[in-house]
Amino acid sequence: MNFERFQNQSRLYVIGALEPEEVEEFEKARKKFGKKAEDFIAKCYALHEAFALSLRPAKSSDAIKDRLMAMVKAKKEA
């Protein structure tokens, strides 16, 4: 697998869209390209942020935050 192919596969990998039979070859290439591969994969995760930011923020119930903070407080005190 050349690096251009690896880049294409990386974008599929980060969204979990590689098929099982493609993952093994991808992991081999990942080892072969080393740091260059890891740096590129890290950049690809910006796609996750982009997809989330493409959505209109949704309002959540105020009670959710109250419950969350109560749980955190209880956990800290435990």
């Binding site: 880049q7 294409n8 974008r11 599929l12 969204i15 979990g16 869209a17 098929e19 890290a42 950049k43 690809c44 995760y45 910006a46 796609l47 996750h48 942020e49 982009a50 997809f51 989330a52 930011l53 493409s54 959505l55 209109r56 923020p57 949704a58 309002k59 959540s60 119930s61 959710i64 935050k65 419950r67 969350l68 903070m69 749980m71 955190v72 407080k73 956990k75 800290k76």
Partner: protein, 181 residues
């Protein structure tokens, strides 16, 4: 995130205020149920609190880490709660009614978008509808290439090409934004 790692509850409160809307929108996009989305949002922020020690700024930005975590939990939740069949039915209706799944989320006229959101949406909307749909099913529904092929009655090779081309265009289109994300 450093303050959360130091177990400062106020920091989690601030993180929640800043990002709950984005994460809730993501969860809702996956599971299509308001009450379940609220419950999951609470669980996800609790997981952020519990797993904060595993976050590494060298590996990426906090939002990316949180989105990855939220997406995984939402897709797991979708499957565990056996809502998958119901969501698939709704999804089928969406596909039949409007193949461009991103378009119906909100129109430009309905909401005032931030500059970042406007740019991201412009890049995504610039893709052919078939590429948008393939990416939508992969990212927001956690579908494999084979599942997308079956769902859209499209050859597997075509699905792969659509995903590769679409993701490359988005990745390239967001080049200027990546450092900010």
């Amino acid at each position: 995130m450093e303050r959360i790692q130091a177990r400062e509850a106020d920091a989690l409160s601030q993180l929640y205020d800043r990002y709950n809307g984005i994460l809730k929108a993501l969860i809702l996009r996956v599971i299509h149920n308001e009450a379940e989305a609220d419950d999951l949002l609470q669980e996800i922020f609790m997981e952020i609190w519990n797993q904060a020690k595993n976050f590494s700024a060298q590996k990426g930005k906090p939002l990316g880490w949180m989105v990855t975590l939220a997406r995984r939990r939402a897709i797991d939740g979708l499957r565990k709660k056996q809502a998958y069949a119901r969501a698939e039915e709704r999804l089928q209706n969406e596909i039949e009614q409007q193949p461009d799944a991103w378009v119906h989320n909100a129109t430009e006229e309905e909401i005032v978008l931030s500059d970042t959101r406007t740019l991201i949406r412009k890049v995504i909307m610039g893709l052919p509808p078939a590429q948008q749909l393939a990416i939508d099913l992969a990212f927001f529904k956690g579908m494999s290439q084979r599942e997308i092929a079956a769902k859209t009655n499209t050859p597997l090779g075509t699905v792969k090409t659509r995903l590769e081309l679409g993701l490359k265009k988005i990745y390239d289109g967001l080049k200027d934004l990546r450092d900010e994300l």
